[in-house]
């Protein structure tokens, strides 16, 4: 068994204790995945990525700095599908080679743009950052990172590129 802390919609906070030395968090009697540990991930691109002109292109951030609940797909779809429902702080920073125009970076939720931000041109490169607080249902909702602008190349490495999210409040 386990020592249980259960948030119940009928009885409020219910605590059950035993001598197992195991602690479990529950919502309405259902154990939270991963012992209630909040999912969090951060990923970056290990190589460069070419971007077509004026085309929203999904960013291939294929290397994980961490992925506490194995909810980020870094091989095929490059998407974060958390298995715990709640509100997630999502962050995106993108670094590209020089372009003369301002471009967009965007976080997509379930295949549609949820929020976009500007990436400003600098003398030798471009960089842009954005964040959003997004509700995820813990089963089918997912987020992805996209880039839009003139034809360019996404630089590699974690120093200028990161896509990350973490649970800040349960549903």
């Amino acid at each position: 068994m386990a020592c249980i802390i259960n948030a119940s919609t009928s009885a409020g906070l219910v605590q059950t204790a035993d001598l197992s030395g195991v602690l479990q968090f529950q919502q309405n009697g259902v154990a939270l995945p991963n012992g209630g540990v909040a999912p969090a991930f951060s990923a970056y691109p290990s190589g460069t990525q070419a971007i077509s002109n004026a085309t929203f292109t999904k960013l291939q951030f294929n290397t994980e700095l961490f992925d506490t609940n194995s909810n980020y797909d870094n091989a095929t779809n490059y998407r974060f599908t958390p298995t715990v429902a709640g509100y997630y702080q999502c962050n995106l920073t993108v670094n590209t080679q020089t372009s003369t125009t301002t471009t967009l970076i965007a976080i997509y939720k379930n295949g549609s743009s949820y929020l976009s931000g500007l990436q400003l041109p600098l003398s030798t490169f471009q960089v842009g950052s954005m964040s959003a607080l997004i509700f995820m249902n813990g089963s089918t909702d997912y987020i992805e990172a996209y880039f839009y602008g003139s034809a360019t190349t996404i630089n590699s490495g974690s120093g200028g590129n990161q896509f990350s999210a973490c649970l800040v409040r349960g549903a």
């Binding site: 077509s52 004026a54 929203f56 291939q60 779809n77 967009l104 839009y148």
Partner: protein, 52 residues
């Protein structure tokens, strides 16, 4: 590239058009660029033959 083919067909299109009534997308799934949205008020969506 898809954008260049569309511009060749419709030179009057602007960068604003591609951020509002037209959206090109690439989902990095190996299928390449495609038209995700075409809501231009006067110009018809290009056919596959025109974009080939």
């Amino acid at each position: 590239m898809l954008y260049e083919k569309i511009i060749a067909l419709y030179p009057s299109l602007t960068s604003q058009d591609f951020m509002t009534v037209i959206q090109l997308q690439n989902d990095s799934d190996g299928k390449g660029d495609y038209i995700a949205k075409w809501e231009h008020p006067t110009l018809p969506r290009p056919t596959d033959e025109e974009l080939a």
